[in-house]
C-alpha cells in the first residue's frame, strides 16, 4: 500500500484524478449548512424568497463553482501566489480605508460597480495563505527563533491595524486569532505566546483609550446587558429572549415571534443563529453546531494526511478561521462575548464572506486532492 501511494504521488495528477479526489462529503456538508441558511433567510422575510433567500442561493451557486475551481488548480500555483494574494487583499483593505462606503458607522465595503466587496473578509483567508507559505519555508528549529517571527508578526499586525482603524473590532480579533493559530501550529514556542499575552495585557489600557464610544458601549453592554435595555443592550437582550423562549424544540419554522415581530435586530445577518434557535430550539441550534464540527473534522482529517507543511497549515488555518466565525458569532448572540460584527459562516446574508469561505474550503479540498504533492521551500514540486 505504501508503494502504491508513492506511485500516485510520483506522477502529475490528471483532471480525472482530481475530480475523483474531491471530498464530496465535505461539499454535501457545506451545502446542508447553506441550505439551512436559505431556509432561515426565507423565514426572515416572513416566508418570502425575496429579498434575501434567492440572492443568497445565487451567491452560493457562484461560490460552489469557485470552490471546485479552487480545488482543482494545482496546489503549487496557490503556494506561489500566496504572497500576491495577500498583497492584493492588503491593498483592498487600504482602499476601503481610503474611499470606502460608510455603512453602519464603520467603513467595510468597497464598491466594484455591480458588487460590493468586503476586503476584510478576503483578508482572513489571504492571511492564512501567506502565513502558511511563510512557515512552510521555516524549519522547526528556526520557527522557535524570534528573528524568524518578525516577518510573520508584521504580516498579521498590518492588516489588524488597518481593520481596527475602520473600525471593525470583530474582524481584527479574528485576524489576530487566525495569526495566533498559525503561529501555534507552526510550532512557535509556547513562552512566546505567554510573552505576547503579557504585552497585550500591558497595552490594554492604551487600546481602551483608542476604542470608539460605540465599541466601549458594546463592552459595557456585554458586562451588563440589562443596563440599557432600550439602547445598546437591546440587541443582546432581545437575542437572549429569542433564544431562551425557543426552548427545546423551538416555536416552529416561520413561527419565531421575536424575529417575525421585529424585536430581533439584524435577523438576516449577524443574529441569524438566534432565529434558528428560536424556531428550532436547542435541538436545531445543536444540530447546526454539529454540522460545523463535522466540517472542521473534515479539515483536520485532510490536514493530517497532507504531506506538505503548507497544506497542513493552510487546511487547519482555514478550519480555524471557520471555527472562529462560528464561535464568535454564536457566542455573541448568546451573550457570552461582546457584540461584534462577525457573520455566521455560510448562513448569514452576505456575499463576500460566503464566497471567501467557499474559496477557503476549495483550498482545503485542494490540499486533500494534492495531499501527496510535496512542495519545496520555494514552491517547485519535488517528487517523493
Amino acid at each position: 500500500m505504501v508503494s502504491l501511494s508513492a506511485d500516485i504521488g510520483r506522477r502529475e495528477l490528471t483532471l480525472a484524478d482530481k475530480l475523483r479526489g474531491i471530498q464530496w462529503g465535505l461539499v454535501l456538508l457545506l451545502a446542508m449548512i447553506a441550505g439551512i441558511g436559505f431556509a432561515m433567510l426565507y423565514s426572515a422575510a416572513n416566508g418570502n424568497l425575496q429579498p434575501w433567500a434567492s440572492r443568497q442561493m445565487t451567491r452560493f451557486a457562484i461560490a460552489l463553482v469557485a470552490m471546485i475551481a479552487a480545488a482543482l488548480i494545482d496546489i503549487r500555483y496557490w503556494f506561489r501566489s500566496a504572497y500576491w494574494i495577500y498583497a492584493i487583499s492588503l491593498a483592498l483593505v487600504v482602499a476601503v480605508d481610503l474611499r470606502g462606503i460608510a455603512g453602519m458607522g464603520a467603513q467595510r465595503w468597497i464598491g466594484l460597480g455591480f458588487v460590493q466587496l468586503q476586503p476584510s473578509e478576503i483578508m482572513k483567508i489571504a492571511l492564512v495563505l501567506a502565513l502558511a507559505r511563510y512557515f512552510h519555508g521555516v524549519s522547526t528549529d528556526n520557527a522557535g527563533r524570534l528573528r524568524y517571527l518578525a516577518a510573520p508578526a508584521l504580516m498579521v499586525a498590518v492588516p489588524v491595524a488597518l481593520v481596527l482603524k475602520q473600525p471593525d473590532l470583530g474582524t481584527a480579533m479574528m485576524l489576530l486569532a487566525c495569526g495566533a493559530v498559525l503561529f501555534f501550529l507552526a510550532s512557535v514556542r509556547l513562552w512566546i505566546f505567554g510573552a505576547a499575552a503579557l504585552i497585550a495585557a500591558a497595552a490594554a489600557p492604551l487600546a481602551w483609550s483608542m476604542l470608539r464610544d460605540y465599541q466601549k458601549a458594546r463592552l459595557y453592554t456585554f458586562i451588563d446587558p440589562e443596563r440599557d435595555p432600550l439602547g445598546a443592550g437591546y440587541h443582546i437582550l432581545q437575542s437572549k429572549i429569542a433564544l431562551g423562549s425557543g426552548g427545546l424544540f423551538g416555536k416552529g419554522f416561520l413561527h419565531g415571534t421575536q424575529s417575525h415581530l421585529s424585536f430581533l435586530p439584524e435577523k438576516q445577518t449577524d443574529f441569524i443563529f438566534t432565529m434558528i434557535a428560536e424556531e428550532f430550539g436547542l435541538v436545531g441550534g445543536l444540530a447546526l453546531l454539529v454540522l460545523y464540527i463535522l466540517v472542521i473534522l473534515y479539515a483536520f482529517a485532510i490536514a493530517l494526511r497532507s504531506r506538505s507543511q503548507f497544506g497542513r497549515l493552510l487546511a487547519l488555518g482555514i478550519a480555524a478561521a471557520f471555527f472562529l466565525y462560528a464561535f464568535i458569532n454564536t457566542a455573541m448572540v448568546m451573550g457570552l462575548i461582546p457584540v461584534v460584527g462577525v457573520p455566521l459562516p455560510l448562513i448569514s446574508y452576505g456575499g463576500t464572506a460566503m464566497v471567501t469561505l467557499m474559496l477557503g474550503f476549495g483550498l482545503v479540498m485542494n490540499i486533500g486532492i494534492h495531499r501527496d504533492v510535496r512542495i519545496s521551500r520555494l514552491g517547485e514540486s519535488r517528487l517523493g
Binding site: 524549519s139 522547526t140 493559530v181 501555534f184 501550529l185 510550532s187 432581545q238 437572549k240 429572549i241 429569542a242 433564544l243 431562551g244 423562549s245 425557543g246 426552548g247 427545546l248 415571534t257 421575536q258 417575525h260 415581530l261 421585529s262 424585536f263 434557535a277 430550539g281 436547542l282 441550534g285 445543536l286 453546531l289 464540527i293 472542521i296 483536520f300 490536514a303 493530517l304 507543511q309 497542513r312 497549515l313 487547519l316 480555524a320 471555527f323 464561535f327 454564536t330 457566542a331 448568546m334 451573550g335 457570552l336
Partner: protein, 631 residues
C-alpha cells in the same frame, strides 16, 4: 527525512491541542444554549410574551339611568369621528384638503394632525375631527373610496335625552382629571368619561362597569399584528331613580318662568324624590362632547349659578316657613297651648330694642293656629322668647334642619341652626335674647336648603323621620309601592302636629290666610302650606322712618327671597313641595305671592299624575288644569 517527520509529529501534537481547545469552546456554546433554552426557558418565554402581547383595555358601556317609570334619563349614543392613517393616505396634506371640502376642519385641527403625523408611527390613526353630525358622516362615508387612509371610527358618548331638565340630579360626565387617577388602568383610557356631579358621580362605580380586555400581538414598533383573545367588558349597571320625569319636566318649565328658582317635590310616605329642580340649568350633554371655553365662562359666571344645585346646595333663611317648628317647640315645651293668646300691636319690645311684625298695624289678639295662618311675627317672637333658642334648635334638628340628611348625590349642604354653644364657639360672644326672637321667625343665623324645608314638611305630615332618596331599588311595580318603608316616629304629640297642620291648611284655604290667593279651585286637590319671605338685607331704621322703597327700586340681588312649603292632598297628605324663588322672582314678590302659586301648580299636576300609584302613560284627563302654568 527526520526533520520533516519531526515537523509532522510536532504539527500533529499542536493540531491535537488546537482541536482540544476548539472542543472546549464548542462545549461552552452547547452549555450556554442548554442554560438559555432549557434552564431559563420559562423566564425568557415570559419576556418574549411580554414583548409581543399587549393587553388593551376596552372601555365598558356606561350604565343607563331611568326614572321610576323606565323613562331613559341618560344613555349612550354613537359618536362618529373621522380618522386618517398617514401611512395609507400617502400625501397627508392633500387628503386633509380633500376632507376639508366635505366637512369643516379648523386650522388648529389641521396643524395638530400634521404635527402628530410627524411624531407618531405612520400606522397610528389620527383623529381629524370628533362629534360628526349624521350629515357630515354621510358625506365622508360616501367619499371614502376616493380618500385613501380615511376612515370613520365609532365611539360612545353620554347622552341625556331630556337635556337640561334634570341636569342637577343626573350630573354630567367628563374626561378623567389628573387627580382622579387612582392607578386603575381603566381610568387612563383616553375615551373614558366618569361622573363629575349628581347621580353620575355618586353612582359612578356602579355605572362604570368592568373593563374588557383585548389581547393583541404587536411587533417591535407597536403595530397590531392580530388579536389573540377578546374579553368584552361588563357593562355598567343601570340605575333607577324615584324621579317622575313627566313631573320633573313640568316643574322645570314652571320654574323657568322666574329668573332663579329651586323646587323639591317629595313622596312623604316613602321618601322618593319625585322632582328636584334648580333653575336655571345647563345641558349636561355639552360636557360629554367637550365644553367650549366661552360656554364654560358663561355658565360659571352667571349670578344665578346654573351649575350649582340650589335645591340641595343653596342655603336660605327659611323665614316664616320655620314657624311651624317654633310652634311645635313651644307646644312641646309647654310654654304655650292651643289656647294661649298673644296680642300683636305690630311690634314687640325687648328691653330697648323693637322687633317689628310684617303687618304694620298688628294682628290683634290671636292663638297659635291663626298665628300660623296669618304668619304673625309678634306671636312667634313671644313663643320663641318663652321657649328659648336651645329648645327651638333641638326641635329643628328633629325636623331635619342643621345638618345634611345624606341624599344620594353630592353637593348637599346642612344649613345652620344656631345655639348658645355655637354662638360662643364661633364668635366668642354670648347669645343675645334678641337673637332668639329673630330665630323664631326663621331669620338671623338660621339657614336651610329647599330640600330641608321639604323634609320638615314631610315630617310634619307623617310625624316620622322621613329621609328622602333619589335612588329606587327598581322600577315602580304595577299598582304602586305596596309597602312603605317604616321611618322612625318622631315622638311628637299628635295633637300638636294636628294643630300646626290645621294652621297650615288655613294658610291656603281660609280667608285671611297668607296664601289664600293661591288656593285650588278643586277642593279634592287642596293643599296646606306655609309661606315665607326671607330678608337678604337688613331693613334700616331710616327706611322704616321714611317709608320702604318700592321693590322695583331695590337691586335684584338685594331683594327678599320668596319661599313656600306645601303638602297635598289635605285629607291624606302625601306629596310635599318646597319652593324657593330667589329674590322674589322677576316681579319681586313674597312667598305667598310668588312661591305659593308655583307650589299650587306643581301639586295639582302631581296629584293628577299621582306618580306614587299610577302606571306610566299619558294623563287621560286633559283640560285647563293640565297646564296651569300655560306651558
Amino acid at each position: 527525512m527526520p526533520n520533516e517527520s519531526q515537523r509532522h509529529k510536532l504539527f500533529t501534537r499542536r493540531a491535537a491541542l488546537l482541536a482540544g481547545g476548539q472542543a472546549l469552546l464548542g462545549s461552552l456554546l452547547a452549555g450556554r444554549l442548554y442554560q438559555l433554552q432549557i434552564v431559563e426557558k420559562d423566564r425568557y418565554t415570559v419576556l418574549a410574551d411580554e414583548n409581543r402581547i399587549n393587553l388593551r383595555l376596552l372601555a365598558p358601556q356606561r350604565g343607563r339611568i331611568f326614572d321610576r317609570f323606565g323613562v331613559t334619563l341618560a344613555d349612550n349614543r354613537h359618536n362618529y369621528r373621522v380618522v386618517v392613517v398617514p401611512e395609507q393616505a400617502g400625501d397627508l396634506e392633500a387628503t386633509l384638503t380633500a376632507l376639508a371640502s366635505l366637512i369643516e376642519i379648523s386650522d388648529a385641527d389641521r396643524r395638530r394632525v400634521l404635527r402628530d403625523a410627524r411624531r407618531k408611527h405612520s400606522f397610528v390613526p389620527l383623529a381629524v375631527r370628533a362629534n360628526l353630525s349624521w350629515a357630515e358622516m354621510a358625506r365622508v362615508e360616501v367619499a371614502i373610496p376616493e380618500l385613501a387612509g380615511v376612515a370613520i371610527e365609532q365611539g360612545m358618548i353620554r347622552h341625556y335625552p331630556h337635556g337640561a331638565t334634570a341636569a342637577h340630579v343626573l350630573g354630567y360626565v367628563a374626561a378623567v382629571s389628573e387627580k382622579e387617577l387612582t392607578g386603575d388602568p381603566l381610568l387612563e383610557l383616553p375615551d373614558l368619561r366618569i361622573g363629575k356631579s349628581g347621580i353620575e358621580k355618586s353612582q359612578d362605580i356602579r355605572l362604570r362597569g368592568a373593563a374588557g380586555t383585548s389581547q393583541v400581538e404587536v411587533n417591535a414598533f407597536g403595530r397590531v399584528v392580530r388579536e389573540l383573545a377578546h374579553r368584552p367588558g361588563q357593562p355598567g349597571e343601570d340605575v333607577v331613580l324615584g324621579l317622575d320625569m313627566a313631573i320633573q319636566d313640568f316643574v322645570a318649565r314652571r320654574c323657568a318662568k322666574e329668573p332663579s328658582v329651586s323646587c323639591v317635590l317629595l313622596d312623604a310616605t316613602i321618601g322618593d324624590v319625585l322632582a328636584l329642580v334648580s333653575s336655571p340649568s345647563f345641558d349636561p350633554t355639552l360636557f360629554s362632547t367637550g365644553l367650549t371655553q366661552a360656554a364654560w365662562q358663561e355658565l360659571s359666571t352667571d349670578p344665578r349659578h346654573p351649575l350649582v344645585d340650589k335645591a340641595v346646595g343653596g342655603t336660605y333663611p327659611p323665614g316664616s316657613t320655620f314657624k311651624p317648628v317654633v310652634a311645635l317647640a313651644a307646644l312641646d315645651a309647654g310654654v304655650i297651648t292651643a289656647d294661649t293668646a298673644v296680642s300683636c300691636p305690630g311690634h314687640f319690645d325687648l328691653g330697648t330694642a323693637t322687633f317689628h311684625c310684617w303687618k304694620k298695624g298688628g294682628h290683634g289678639t290671636l292663638h297659635v293656629r291663626d298665628a300660623i295662618k296669618e304668619s304673625c311675627d309678634v306671636f312667634f317672637y313671644e313663643a320663641a322668647r318663652r321657649t328659648g333658642i336651645d329648645r327651638i334648635a333641638a326641635m329643628a334638628r328633629r325636623f331635619g334642619y342643621g345638618s345634611a340628611v345624606g341624599l344620594d348625590i353630592a353637593g348637599e349642604r346642612g344649613g345652620l341652626i344656631p345655639t348658645r354653644d355655637w354662638k360662643l364657639a364661633t364668635t366668642g360672644t354670648g347669645w343675645q335674647p334678641g337673637e332668639t326672637l329673630i330665630a323664631g321667625i326663621g331669620q338671623g343665623s338660621v339657614s336651610a336648603t329647599p330640600l330641608q324645608m321639604a323634609i320638615m314638611t314631610a315630617r310634619l305630615v307623617t310625624g316620622r323621620a322621613v329621609v328622602p332618596h333619589l335612588l329606587r331599588e327598581g322600577r315602580l311595580p304595577p299598582g304602586g309601592d305596596q309597602q312603605a318603608p317604616a321611618f322612625a316616629a318622631l315622638g311628637i304629640n299628635p295633637r300638636h302636629l294636628a294643630l300646626v297642620l290645621d294652621g297650615m291648611r288655613a294658610v291656603v284655604n281660609e280667608q285671611g290666610g297668607t296664601a289664600y290667593a293661591a288656593r285650588m279651585s278643586d277642593p279634592a286637590l287642596a293643599m296646606g302650606g306655609k309661606s315665607g319671605t326671607s330678608q337678604v338685607r337688613r331693613i334700616t331704621q331710616y327706611e322704616r322712618d321714611h317709608g320702604l322703597r318700592k321693590v322695583t327700586e331695590i337691586p335684584w340681588k338685594e331683594r327678599d327671597h320668596a319661599l313656600f312649603v306645601a303638602f297635598a292632598p289635605i285629607a291624606a297628605p302625601r306629596y310635599i313641595c318646597a319652593v324657593v324663588v330667589e329674590h322674589g322672582g322677576a316681579a319681586g314678590g313674597g312667598g305667598s305671592a310668588v312661591a305659593a302659586p308655583i307650589c299650587r301648580d306643581v301639586l295639582i299636576e302631581t296629584q293628577r299624575r299621582d306618580p306614587a300609584r299610577r302606571l306610566p302613560g299619558p294623563v287621560a284627563q286633559s283640560g285647563p288644569l293640565a297646564r296651569p302654568g300655560g306651558g
